[in-house]
Symmetry: C2
Subunit: 403 residues, 2 copies
């Protein structure tokens, strides 16, 4: 019998308990042992809940109980999760977390600590919910140099982009709809400004390059400026607008960016709709690959945590640390201004002015939109584009064009 | 330094050597040790090839060399691969193989032997080339009950179906094109009759249910009967024809089938074109997931073998067997005649006759096709459909309709 403690009994934490119950027998078979939740750490009590007698309010009870070998952290936020997780690793317990803020900020340190203590710090559920991208990068793609990772890593904004595209509605309206449906939070900033996707691509990039990538260094643009008019132009071009979080390996290092992109139907992420997430990967020997699934949600995310538990359970007695390359040494990203993209631009300036500044471009005109014109530039650096936009004058919107 | 032997220096085997060279440094970092190829076993010699001095012709040299800890089997076919692999496991060596015939036939036995010897028998590359579906089933999705796996598991036939759809060409013409391009073999039977996909879905089903699934028990229909006229009807319906290999968990057990299906654009596999493979998975807690990538090809497949090598390297000293649930006890599949599907049918019979036999159906008419009519039946068992087809009379073609 393997004893587990769950820290944080919110949506994901209670989901983990549920998954361990629903699939109790098959999980026991695959883990080679029965898994039992011994403690649930939370500030609250849960009278009437089957776990009511397991609730504790002091994390030291868990840290000091030698019977507990695996700790699940599903509290969210850096503190106090960091203090608690550190204490658990120090006490020789394996940890799995769904907490992207914690992993993006303290990943390297906690991985090193786990290695030192010969236990594991796993975080499959921190990126892409039910999509097994972390374990894939660490094991299945371990023989590849990953040259590109591009993901739709935020379900809320993908739902909103899908809705805007299907219904032609404005940003504010789909945001309200997403909030009503519970897909977006009351304060939606982290989702719609791209901060959530940014932390996730920081984690994936760290795993790819083996060093700490600071999410503050990643140029991040949300979807708040995308309008119903932009969508009209996108449709005219036969493209879809998606919030992409991307990281690429170039000759001079790694670059990363979060921003809306116009994708063509040929792009593997074009068809990823609603709250689904997907991650496109290009490896130097693998070629193109794509992982698709539920990026969030109680059970899919809990499924990823529970899979971590099974993996840990297989590496107990004796404890075995699974090597994860993610050093604390910070990676300096290539300045995003050097990144090259084509841009779709809407402007009220004349074709003459456009040609003067951007040279030969591809015009996009939408009949029912008057007093402006759209065009697609050639591929240029972000710096070039910024300068040319300035020179053009009145830019109504600018969206990067993906493959 | 970890010493590896490669048995079979064909496309995949030489690809493995190439991948180990190209990504030598990053693989060493992730494996925690340098990987060196010590032997290449082949009937042939390879004068001028960098591995010319490593070639041996007797597998006992490898089996008896205590320096070799990992053996790669990329020979293909059940014998002599089975004899060689067994000898390597008996000698306490870890094995990774890309050989689907071997795994489908002897998987349970070799997994048991590896466990007994406390080594690993890995076979990521045997299904889906560069798509990490095997490791995902064993680890990432270990907390799920997998209720459905449906895959496009054969690149040759998918290329052919894509070509037929894009160009309106006939089966014989695209087959010739595929042979000219090297996608199809001179004797294309294994691909076009579905035997290759059948072995692969047998392997995946064995992993899902934890027991031996005999590929001979799986109802298998290839793509040889799909015509340019069928494609015309498919287009009229807004659907694509794909050769699917599918396995589902029902109340009374597992069912499996390989056959062409008409897919709607909403199906996650609809957009999988050319030589790409993809696997759709539905887990009871995960929900829907999809893995997409190169299903074959030298380097993608070799990348999967090399990832197995890295995983094994991390589990050396002391050797650690990774648990894989696949018992020798044979699973009796649910009789395919009980499987339920809707069917698209082309017939020269009258609408009256169709209505008499099938009741209310959805007609599909294609202007340029005269003397026949298409229709889609309601959902019924295979047995029902067979009986009704017989009663209808002249059935020109019948293709199952997917979601």
């Amino acid at each position: 019998m393997i004893k587990v403690a769950v820290m944080g009994y919110g949506t994901i934490g209670s989901g983990v308990v549920e998954v361990l119950n629903i699939n109790h027998d098959s999980i026991a078979k695959r883990a080679g042992n029965e898994i039992e939740v011994k403690y649930v750490l939370d500030l609250r009590d849960f009278p009437g809940d089957p776990i009511q007698d397991k609730v504790v309010h002091d994390y030291n009870i868990i840290a000091n109980d030698p019977e507990v070998s695996i700790v699940v952290e599903t509290m969210g936020g850096v503190e106090p999760a960091y203090t608690f997780v550190k204490a658990m690793l120090e006490a020789g317990k394996h940890v799995t977390t769904s907490n992207k803020a914690l992993v993006a900020d303290k990943g390297a340190e906690l991985i090193a600590l786990a290695k030192e203590k010969n236990v594991n710090f796993f975080f499959e559920a921190s990126v892409g919910g039910g999509i097994p991208i972390i374990r894939s990068l660490n094991t299945c793609l371990a023989a590849d140099e990953i040259e590109e990772i591009t993901g739709i890593l935020n379900g809320t904004t993908n739902y909103m982009m899908t809705k805007m595209s299907e219904e032609g509605s404005e940003f504010a309206d789909v945001l309200k709809d997403a909030q009503d449906k519970g897909y977006a939070e009351k304060d939606p900033t982290a989702d719609i400004e791209g901060h959530d996707a940014c932390r996730k691509i920081a984690i994936l990039t760290s795993l790819v390059c083996g060093q700490q990538v600071d999410f503050n260094d990643i140029y991040t643009e949300g979807i708040t400026k995308v309008s119903a008019t932009d969508i009209k132009y996108a449709k005219k071009m036969g493209r879809a607008i998606k919030l992409l979080a991307s990281s690429k390996k170039a000759a001079d290092g790694y670059s990363a960016m979060v921003a809306p992109f116009l994708l063509s139907p040929e792009h593997p992420l074009y068809n990823v709709n609603d709250v689904f997430n997907a991650v496109f990967v290009h490896g130097n020997v693998l070629g193109d690959g794509m992982f698709y699934g539920s990026g969030a949600g109680k059970l899919p995310t809990a499924s990823a945590v529970a899979a971590d538990i099974v993996d840990i359970a297989r590496n107990l007695e004796p404890n075995k640390n699974t090597q994860v390359e993610w050093k604390a040494e910070k990676l300096t990203l290539v300045d995003y201004k050097k990144a090259e993209n084509a841009f779709f631009v809407r402007t009220s300036e004349s074709k003459e002015k456009i040609a003067e500044v951007f040279g030969s471009v591809e015009y996009v005109e939408v009949e029912e939109v008057a007093g402006e014109i759209g065009f697609v530039t050639g591929v240029m650096t972000e710096a070039d584009f910024a300068a040319k936009s300035e020179a053009l004058g009145n830019v109504l919107s600018a969206i990067r064009v993906g493959k």
